[in-house]
């Protein structure tokens, strides 16, 4: 069975079904991250001190425990990957498949850089015995950044599919393939967008 309106816009919505589907998914993601973010705010304003006691020391600022320079680097990495992602779509729109490969490869590489930096950060916490069970601050830190990290992994898998096996579609149906990269980009930019809120509120406040 042929899925309708994968390329042409549906007359009633004005967009193709794939794009509308991804936007609906992203709307649900707003509620998922928004719910957890709300939980963070309420835990925080209800706490007598924040981050509070970690490893037997009383901390007054999250930046005393978390590694701000590494997180700043990761913010730049993710923003950079958003640019390479949108450039991979623009390359296809300009019929430059060679450049698409280059930009998509860079997006995947930057995604891995983000995860490696995150792994260093987590490793640093684990080596001090700072685990989610330690206190509310570390629990919400691991839940929010962990869930975000899982989204990065998911995005990398999708991008890798479009970099290699999925790229065959460029030869058979270039318009549909370009659409696919645009909507894969929507997801990737959303992951960037979540981090834009997580970074200052968790690390810097």
């Amino acid at each position: 069975m042929q899925i309708p309106f994968t390329v042409a816009p549906r007359p009633d919505t004005g967009v193709n079904n794939a794009k509308l589907g991804v936007w609906l998914f992203l709307a649900s993601e707003v509620m998922l991250f928004g719910g957890l973010f709300s939980a963070y705010i309420f835990l925080r304003i209800g706490a007598p001190e924040w981050p509070g006691m970690v490893g037997g020391h009383a901390y007054e600022r999250a930046s005393d425990i978390l590694n701000v320079p590494l997180a700043t680097l990761n913010t730049m990495v993710l923003i950079g990957s958003s640019v390479t992602m949108v450039m991979s779509w623009a390359s296809l729109a300009m019929q430059r498949f060679d450049r698409y490969r280059l930009y998509m490869g860079a997006t995947i590489a930057l995604g891995f850089v983000f995860l490696v930096v995150k792994a260093f950060e987590y490793g640093e916490k684990f080596s001090h015995g700072y685990l989610p069970a330690e206190n509310n601050f570390l629990a919400i830190y691991f839940v929010l950044t962990g869930l975000h990290g899982l989204h990065v992994i998911g995005g990398i898998l999708v991008n890798m599919y479009f970099m290699w096996p999925g790229a065959r579609m460029w030869k058979t149906d270039p318009k549909r393939f370009t659409n696919r990269i645009e909507i894969a980009g929507l997801y990737w930019h959303f992951v960037d967008l979540v981090w834009i809120f997580l970074f200052p509120t968790i690390y810097l406040l």
């Binding site: 936007w23 928004g34 309420f42 209800g46 318009k175 690390y203 810097l204």
Partner: protein, 107 residues
Amino acid sequence: MSDTGHSIEEIKKHVRVYMFVFASLAVLTVVTVVVGYLELPFAPALIVALLIATVKAGLVAAYFMHLVSEEQIVRWLVWLSLGLLLAMFLILSVYYVDQGGTEIFGF
């Protein structure tokens, strides 16, 4: 025309905008970190952080996610999800204050 319905010239214009947005996001990230090191009290620090983050998120959504030129239905969907998020947050806030929470919101 390319296969996406945009002319090559149009896409080239888009690319220039993407580079400008990238530079703005990088500058705003530096501003966020500098403000973080100022160690402002919690309430103003939160407001400034959220304000800068909202501007950055707006740039990403408007240009990288093409919301600026997207169909009405998608824009409505975004506003709806943000409205529902705000409603959830307000309901939780009322419940929180009702349970003898804190005066952080000033009520």
